[in-house]
Amino acid sequence: MSEEQETPQQNQPIDLSKKDDAPKEPVYNTPGTPPPFQPAPPFQQFGGMAQPNLPNATIALILGILSIPACCCYGIGLIFGIIAWVLAGSDIKKYNLDPNAYSISSYKNTKAGKICGIIGAILSLLYIICLIAMIAFFGWAALRDPQLMKELLREKGLQ
C-alpha cells in the first residue's frame, strides 16, 4: 500500500524539475523575479534555507531530552520518551515521503529527538522493571518498612 503511494510521489518532483529547468532559465536570470517555487538541486545541498521545519521536530527533541530527568518521578519519563519516539517517527516518515518539502536541520533535530526518546524510554523502563523486581524479591511489606528492609538485606548478604 505504502510502496505504491511512494513511487509516483518520488518520481514526480524529479520529472517536474527536469521539465521546468529548461524553460525557466531565461526567466530566472531577469532581475527582480523571485526564485522558482521548487528548489533547484544545488540549493538542497546548503540545507534548504527557505524550507519549512518539520511540524514536531522541536517538541520531539525537547520531550526526548526531558525524558531522562523525568524518569525518576514515577516513571513519567517513559511517557515523555514514548511520545517523543512516536512524534519523531511520524515526522521522519513524512520527511522520507517528500524530502524536498522540509528543511534538513529540522530532520536532524527530529532524528536526535527520536534517539533521545528511545534512550529515555529504555532508562525509565529499566527503572520500572527494577521497581517491580524489588517488590517481587523483597515483598511489599519489607519495602514499606526500612528497618525490616535492612534486616532482609543483611540476611541476603547484600550489606
Binding site: L61, I68, C73, A112, I115, I119
Partner: protein, 106 residues
C-alpha cells in the same frame, strides 16, 4: 547579605521534593541526589555537586545547549546533542551500578 543567602539555601535544602521511590522503599532511585547536586552547584561547589550526582553538569549543559541550538541552529547541534545524551544515560547507569556495589543505596 551573605546571611540571607545562607538562610535561603538552608530553606531550600529543608524543602526539597522527596523522591517517591526513596520515601516508599527507603532505597535510592537512579535520580536521587540530583536536587542536592543542583543546590551545591548553585553554591558554587562543583566537586560536591559531582559527588552527589555526576550527571548534573552535562544535564544542565544539554538543556542550555538545546535552547541555544533551537534558536541559532548549529550545523553540528543535533549530533552533539545525541552524543551528550548517550553519555548522560551511560553516566547515570554506571553511577547507579557503582552505588549498588558500594552499598550507598540506603
Amino acid at each position: 547579605m551573605a546571611q540571607q543567602h545562607n538562610s535561603f539555601f538552608d530553606w531550600v535544602s529543608h524543602h526539597l521534593l522527596s523522591c517517591p521511590f526513596k520515601s516508599y522503599f527507603g532505597i535510592d532511585c537512579p535520580g536521587c541526589g540530583l536536587q542536592r547536586s543542583i543546590l551545591s552547584l548553585l553554591k558554587g561547589d562543583f566537586i560536591d555537586s559531582f559527588k552527589f550526582y555526576p550527571a548534573t553538569i552535562p544535564l544542565i549543559f544539554i538543556v542550555l545547549f538545546t535552547i541555544i541550538h533551537l534558536k541559532v541552529d548549529f550545523k553540528f547541534g543535533a549530533s552533539l546533542i545525541k552524543i551528550v545524551f548517550i553519555g548522560i544515560a551511560s553516566i547515570i547507569l554506571i553511577n547507579y551500578i557503582y552505588k549498588i556495589y558500594n552499598h550507598q543505596l540506603i
